[in-house]
């Protein structure tokens, strides 16, 4: 055995051990997981990620509701994404994904959610910013209140405090009421617990972010018309509180110290962190979503259904692979046995890569992996058929093996390249409109095909050379064991 082969053998063994270790369903030490620098910090881990179809959850695709052909500005899409993300985070569920796709779509994935419809309603809510009249007793920060423009809080809102315990409030119309219309001196006729809206976010002209000794504050400027309203209101309500409310949640309630002419003011944030302050500034700037969003597709999968799918796929996979292993063993005997070892290594490496990369597994993705395992033996079969031909033509075992591998190489390369081309087309197709099922299939099939080039050729050849070294003499007298 040549030196190169010995090194290869050691490398293969090491890879196998590593793959088994990664594949094991144990808690891997965190320092090891932290070595996966390509994974985003904080969520690095060695584990299989299941797609929504396998773990259950909600996937929504929101599209900018603008006329066909009209371009959507990148910044407003990014802002909309940020707002949506904030709301999704508000649901308090882990591992949510909110990302921009293409130039007019936002994809939201929320695994493990109970009532998907509620989440959809929250996500595409209007993000209404209001300045409300709180009289002399301001509600605490974080309270959920009912206002004349914003109406009662929407379902599913989970803010901790409710300052207005009056559930019998009749629902108010939430139609587009301009801020001007709401400034009618009817505060006394309002139902109990309802706050009067003085201005809405539409009146904001500019918003900034700054800090002083007391912490961050948000300077703002109102449009001329609203500035007028604001000046009049503050003049007549000195000493009272004016609450800033976003989506019915109280953000802060500054006291009106004096009349504020000119439409300029600031919202002090006290001990807010930079992130919080910036988030609020963004929300204020675009109190409502900068672009209207429409639910384009929504998919929900029950969590138990996903679990059942995983169990069924695993069972199908084990059965399918066992048959392939058995077939190779029966049909190609010793050669097949070696190919089986390579196939097991192939499966182990694939799984390890899914955990490390990470590749999100979907049902079609698993099918793609299983199919690639079935096809993985193709390269071995091409080689073994050649080897048999060569042995029948009277060559020695060793020579037959070497020619078999070198002759079959072009066919193997061609067939792998054609599969990879198909995968590329499929991936492009899946990516164009977010068909994650298609993408998952193409990805696992492509990964499998690439790993296969290594296991079916390098691994099988090295193992067979080693075998010839150890038991070549013995095998030569038992050609039947090679299936010739």
């Amino acid at each position: 055995m040549e030196r190169r082969d010995r090194i290869l053998l050691v490398v293969i063994l090491l890879l196998a051990v590593l793959a088994v270790y990664v594949d094991l369903n144990i808690d891997h030490p965190s320092w090891l997981e932290n070595l996966l620098v390509w994974q985003p910090e904080g969520v690095r881990k060695i584990a299989i990620r299941y797609g929504l179809d396998l773990r259950g959850g909600l996937k929504v695709s929101l599209v900018a509701d603008v006329p066909e052909g009209q371009e959507v500005e990148r910044t407003s899409l990014e802002t909309a994404r940020q707002i949506v993300e904030n709301r999704v985070n508000g649901l308090g569920l882990a591992e949510t994904i909110v990302q921009i796709q293409g130039n007019r779509r936002i994809i939201v994935e929320i695994p493990g959610i109970d009532e998907p419809e509620v989440a959809i309603e929250i996500i595409r809510g209007t993000a209404l910013l209001e300045f409300v009249d709180a009289g002399y007793t301001p509600p605490p920060r974080g309270a959920v209140i009912t206002t004349t423009v914003g109406g009662p809080p929407r379902l599913g809102e989970t803010a901790p405090v409710t300052a207005t315990p009056s559930p019998q409030i009749p629902p108010l119309t939430t139609g587009p009421i301009s801020p001007m219309e709401t400034i009618t001196p009817t505060a006394e006729t309002l139902p109990p617990g309802t706050y009067r809206t003085v201005l809405t976010g539409k009146g904001l002209k500019a918003v900034g972010l700054d800090r002083d000794d007391l912490g961050y504050y948000i300077p703002f400027e109102l449009n001329d018309e609203e500035a007028q309203v604001f000046a009049e209101y503050t003049a007549s309500h000195v000493g009272q509180y004016l609450c800033i409310v976003l989506d019915n949640v109280v953000i802060s309630c500054p006291q009106i110290q004096e009349a504020i002419p000119g439409g300029r003011g600031r919202i002090t944030l006290g001990d807010a962190t930079y992130q919080e302050a910036r988030g609020l500034a963004i929300q204020l700037q675009y109190g409502a979503l900068p672009i209207p969003l429409r639910v384009e597709t929504a998919t929900t999968v029950g969590p138990t259904l996903g679990e059942i799918s995983v169990q069924k796929s695993v069972r199908a996979g084990i059965i399918g692979l066992s048959i392939v292993l058995l077939f190779m063993l029966v049909y190609y005997r010793v050669l097949g046995g070696v190919a089986d070892l390579a196939l097991l290594l192939y499966a182990g490496l694939n799984l390890a890569l899914y955990k490390l990369a990470p590749v999100t597994l979907t049902l079609p993705g698993i099918a793609g992996f299983l199919l690639s395992a079935g096809m993985a033996v193709d390269a071995n079969i091409l080689v073994f058929e050649r080897v048999k031909e060569e042995i029948r033509a009277g060559r020695s075992l060793k020579a037959a093996l070497e020619t078999g591998f070198s002759r079959a190489w072009t066919s193997i390369r061609d067939s792998q390249v054609s599969i990879l081309i198909a995968c590329a087309v499929l991936y492009f197709f899946g990516n164009t409109f977010g068909a994650s099922a298609v993408k998952g299939f193409a990805l696992t099939l492509a990964i499998g095909t690439t790993i296969n080039l290594f296991t079916a050729i390098v691994v099988t050849r090295t193992l067979l050379r080693g075998l010839l070294q150890v038991a070549g003499e013995w095998l030569r007298n038992r050609m039947a064991l090679l299936g010739v």
Partner: protein, 307 residues
């Protein structure tokens, strides 16, 4: 030596019958549903529910609830065995509010809906059109890539046009039969074309073209090696030499696919079945259509030359 090429008339006959039947299926589907294949909500827009009830439900009950929410024109089908209490419901696009109300009413009036085992999918008709367009682009790109690949593989072979045309004919033959099979299952079992169907078709097309090219490659090699033999014999020899490999490979893939169909989840059954059919037809079309076509072409050319 078993002679496949000699029996090519039989193969042509079988293929002709299969293609005719497939086209018939497509025509029947057009008459019944207005398009050659039943399209899933991915393409048409609409809502698709898989409802799992904790208790028996009937189609009439479900329809009544839907009608109360303006969705009376629904397609309602049972999924699995009766005791599974699982139904598939397809309606036009339902809003999240409607969906929530429907789930509530179904639980109250029919039987409790088990949300853990239920799914729903909503696609707006606008995006359905976009997806259909994207699919059209993907298929065109795939066709160009595959034909380019065929052209590239045969660029230095004498009479390359014969090989190229035959390979494409074999590919179209498999495509038509797979589509016909899906149309038949659409008529029998309500299978609808979704993105996964296209995936299956594109994948098996590339496999089958690859298979054909391996056989043609062998013919090219053998033409040089057995100069004195007639072309028919060489072609047949090439089929027999490569068919081992083709069958062994396909057999393994087929084992896996059958395992998935029998033991895997319901959701990808149609996907894998399409792939399996495509694989079988694709393998057959290599030795039953592609190579015999080349041989027939060669024979016709020879006869013309003699005259």
């Amino acid at each position: 030596m078993f002679n496949i090429v000699e029996k090519r008339r039989w193969f042509f006959l079988i293929s002709g019958i299969l293609v005719t039947l497939s086209i018939l299926m497509l025509v029947v589907t057009v008459i019944q549903f207005g398009s050659p294949l039943r399209l899933a909500v991915d393409f048409t827009g609409g809502s698709l529910f898989i409802l799992h009830f904790d208790g028996p439900a009937t189609e009439t009950d479900i329809r009544q609830v839907l009608a109360a929410h303006d969705l009376e024109e629904a397609i309602i089908q049972r999924v699995g065995r009766p005791e599974d209490n699982t139904w598939q419901v397809r309606t036009r696009e339902a809003s999240p509010e409607q969906v929530r109300a429907i789930f509530g009413d179904l639980t109250a009036q029919v039987a409790p809906v088990n949300r853990d085992l239920s799914t729903y999918e909503t696609v707006s008709p606008i995006v359905g059109g976009e997806v259909a367009r994207a699919a059209g682009i993907a298929i065109s790109v795939a066709a160009v890539v595959i034909i380019g690949y065929i052209w590239w593989s045969f660029r230095r072979v004498p009479h390359s046009i014969r090989y190229g045309v035959s390979a494409i004919a074999a590919m179209l033959h498999s495509l038509i039969i797979v589509t016909g099979f899906y149309a038949l299952m659409g008529l029998l079992r309500g299978w609808e074309v979704d993105a996964l169907f296209l995936t299956a078709v594109l994948t098996v097309t590339s496999f089958s073209v690859q298979d054909t090219i391996v056989m043609f490659d062998r013919i090219r090699e053998n033409v040089r090696r057995y100069r004195e033999e007639p072309f028919e014999r060489i072609a047949n020899r090439s089929i027999l030499e490569t068919i081992h490999r083709s069958l062994a490979t396909q057999l393994n893939a087929i084992f896996v696919m059958i395992a998935i169909i029998l033991f895997g989840g319901e959701t990808i059954r149609s996907f894998i079945s399409t792939m399996l059919t495509g694989m079988l037809v694709g393998t057959y079309s290599s030795f039953g259509v592609a190579v015999p076509l080349v041989v027939a072409w060669e024979a016709a050319a020879r006869r013309r030359a003699k005259r």
